[in-house]
Symmetry: C2
Subunit: 571 residues, 2 copies
Amino acid sequence: MSVVALLQHNSVVGDIHQNSIEISRLATIAASQGATIAVTSELAICGYPPRDLLLEKDFVNRCIEAIKGIISPIPILIGSPLNPDGIKKLPSNGVIYCEGNGKIKELYRKQLLPTYDVFDEARYFNKGTELSTIEAPDCSKLGITICEDAWQHAGHVPSDYGIDPIKQLSKISKQLSYSVNLSASPYHADKKNVRIDVVKSAAASLKHPYLMCNQIGGNDDLIFDGRSTISWPNGDIMQAPAWKEAILLVDLNKPQLSKVIEFDNYKKYDGLIIKEAKITPSDDNFKNKDEDLDLLEAITTGLRDYCHKSGIKSVVLGVSGGIDSAVTAAIACRALGPGAVHGISMPMRYSSKHSKKDAKELMNTLGAHYHQVELSELQISSEEYLKELIPINDPGVDPIYLENIQARLRGLTVMAYANAYGGMALATGNKSELAIGYCTLYGDMCGGYAPLGDLYKTEVYRIANLINREAEENGEEAPIPKSTIVKPPSAELRPNQKDEDSLPPYESLDAILEDWIERGIVNTEYDEKTVTWILQTMKSNEHKRWQMPPAPRVSKRSFGQGWRQPLAAKK
Amino acid sequence: MSVVALLQHNSVVGDIHQNSIEISRLATIAASQGATIAVTSELAICGYPPRDLLLEKDFVNRCIEAIKGIISPIPILIGSPLNPDGIKKLPSNGVIYCEGNGKIKELYRKQLLPTYDVFDEARYFNKGTELSTIEAPDCSKLGITICEDAWQHAGHVPSDYGIDPIKQLSKISKQLSYSVNLSASPYHADKKNVRIDVVKSAAASLKHPYLMCNQIGGNDDLIFDGRSTISWPNGDIMQAPAWKEAILLVDLNKPQLSKVIEFDNYKKYDGLIIKEAKITPSDDNFKNKDEDLDLLEAITTGLRDYCHKSGIKSVVLGVSGGIDSAVTAAIACRALGPGAVHGISMPMRYSSKHSKKDAKELMNTLGAHYHQVELSELQISSEEYLKELIPINDPGVDPIYLENIQARLRGLTVMAYANAYGGMALATGNKSELAIGYCTLYGDMCGGYAPLGDLYKTEVYRIANLINREAEENGEEAPIPKSTIVKPPSAELRPNQKDEDSLPPYESLDAILEDWIERGIVNTEYDEKTVTWILQTMKSNEHKRWQMPPAPRVSKRSFGQGWRQPLAAKK
């Protein structure tokens, strides 16, 4: 008789009250569609990751009180921090059984606490030591796990926890109808199949359905794709959509009657769509037909949620006619609508005519706000002003400072506009240039968020082509000018400057960077001199990355929380 | 017969080769002074904290190979990462017994891995599960522990590890002559006495001397004060100096013959001074007579090591005549010598005459390089230029952008000078203004390092007075002008602007901030409206702190690694 609703909800970190209202609403909708019990994602009451909010004195109590206040016609298993157990001093990452009438029961404390990459759970939580089951009012008995708890079993963890909660559950699995997993499993490229593998592995060992509810949405640098997944022991799979709030309503007795209820995230419940949930046989490898589309959705979600959740109403960026600013502008329009996007073209004496034309064409096609200010005069005044401090013919002077001034005057302009009108500046840099420091600190690195900060340059080109293809398929004009895509990349900070004057071609640069950053391998395909230069340049530009704006994490190793090199003095 | 040398060494993170050479040199000096065995600080071979360097494939092997290469007349217990044990995938934080002739033996794996505040050890290491002892060639048998291993026993840990290595050792302590502890215990104000408590507690339980060797020096945001400490079971204490490389040479049979060998850190072994090491009875509370001097040494060491270890030869900063830039300049001179310090005065139309005079006087007294450029004209050009983009009478415009432009033009000037001459810019901001965002991102926040970034404004004043007092005691002129200290603080970005127009008086601001940041308490002494305004302003300015330069951590909770609030959308 169990009809289980996985509430794939976009929690706002720290907004406990609003999260509790949303959970209540989703559960009520699920009940109206026949659900007998509902399950949220991990720490849904406070959003994931709560980080140092957990150290605030009343934080855990506020979460628990909010759960007590949830009204729901069906019981809900809610992810919540729990107060310390016994002599322990840290809270647990747990699950609360909420009857929906003020009565609650603490059920489970997560046993495996990931502390690698973007995860820091051993810092904030004490691990639980006991498995947990509950009998639902529909008389089915279910096992409870949280995210990482299932990953050891499938072998997808960097260390060995010495404990395997799935194995523990499998010993009593005959008494259980199904098990659930409350997850906050962030997106990165290629992760989808790994997650399916985890869910299938648990279902196969437990010999009953395994239901994973995953968080959707962006929280700072972390982005969650949703894709809540159910696996049956034979490997059959059912999945909620990616990049959308949704309820996956699975009828465990008659799976063919299962439904997906989809929401448009930012119109909330007006846009409710009910679809049939399909079972996919185990031999379907769930490979996304278009990995690039997933990447585009990821960075769009990251920017959209960063703005929505922080109360940012508009964004502003410098548009140069180059590929990075073009893609950033297009993504901002996709995330926030063109009315919220301001592009400023700031040509000066080294800017090509083409660049000015391309920038204008881009913003016009996008339908966003376009501004142009001629920078040359201020640039010349600045150089004049600095002569007093830095004599122009001093042989001890590195002329690079002149290029940096241009980038910084542009940063100053974009920030002035943002400060004057209350918007947020966007940094347009990509991972390739951030990696080797081919960017100006306090210049083009200015901004509250860097949508492309975790995309290699070659990926930026792929996303540009996809954005144009998507527009054309919708019968619209492709926004990114062809010349922006085909012309050789240039910072235009010197006459006739090209990126390739200073850098290896992006194809080899990216291959070498990816090998080192994502796989820890020194590339041996390209010539040793180039590889050595790139790795040295990376190390000597690390200081810039300590001050870069947050960027949505889409690769295995971003420059954010997951890339913590010591800064000084590495050899 | 045991004469043990604690090698209080300033390891450079990642510079394995140089660290191994230094360890060898120190051990050789210790042997020449009669030592029979030497002990380093925690992870001395690679420096602490190695962070993501540990994820590089050959890193652990490189450490071990370097230890094999160490030549020493006496054996050395060296802190080193160890390769994973058995099925584990992560390395351990361990101790290697180095005979000094190419022969080594892996001895111990740290059992308690701190993962709170500035520590991230569960992220990088697998914990050991066994205690370890070794018989030295002098026939004494000793127990081995690493840093945190001893802290559980004294109760100074935020959680309960469920394991107590000191208790383990105490069961076999009758077989042992003494025990050692290899530490990398960072400085923060008030920590000295806690550390002594830990060492005394271990010695009392083990009923034999407990010898802690601690790292000295700065590594990025972490700074280590040294103060290697020995405690006897009766509570007697012997300590190596703070803020200096040194060897504490303890004769365990005749403690009165013990010595301290001090080095001038940056002249290395030329400045070798041998002193008698004094035993202090247990009832001396080791309270520093001048906590402020400790703070001053801490930030000086932080800046000096950041520069030396990163190969930075000179620094440049804006000098306004205000207290923050004055103290920053004085500390830079203290750390690097006045010849390496460049101060730029950039007065414009709102700068007071006094400010210009004070800035010049400061730099002259310090004997550092002084430059002055008049900013007003460029400021006016910039405002003219921006009129095209931001109409001057637009009622929707927040005039704050004009103040920010001034700060950003100054940032641009300082960065241009740094880029032109290859120096590093220093940010002059203090913790009070960073906390509430009373500073300009990409303006006065520009810089590779922020020496005062973890000092509250009232602490900056105390340090200013101390710097002047120190100079006078040395028969020199007090560098910080009296008017800089007594005039009301002002950003001088508007006519007649005072900090107190926008902020509560610093005395109350700092009290409220300290309660919240360091103790997690909402202050109830000051009026609720002020307190609420401060805490709200802190939250809404969090984005700035994600892009602040590294600052030496001197408080319990700095804005660096130990203060990781989620950025978006907290309520």
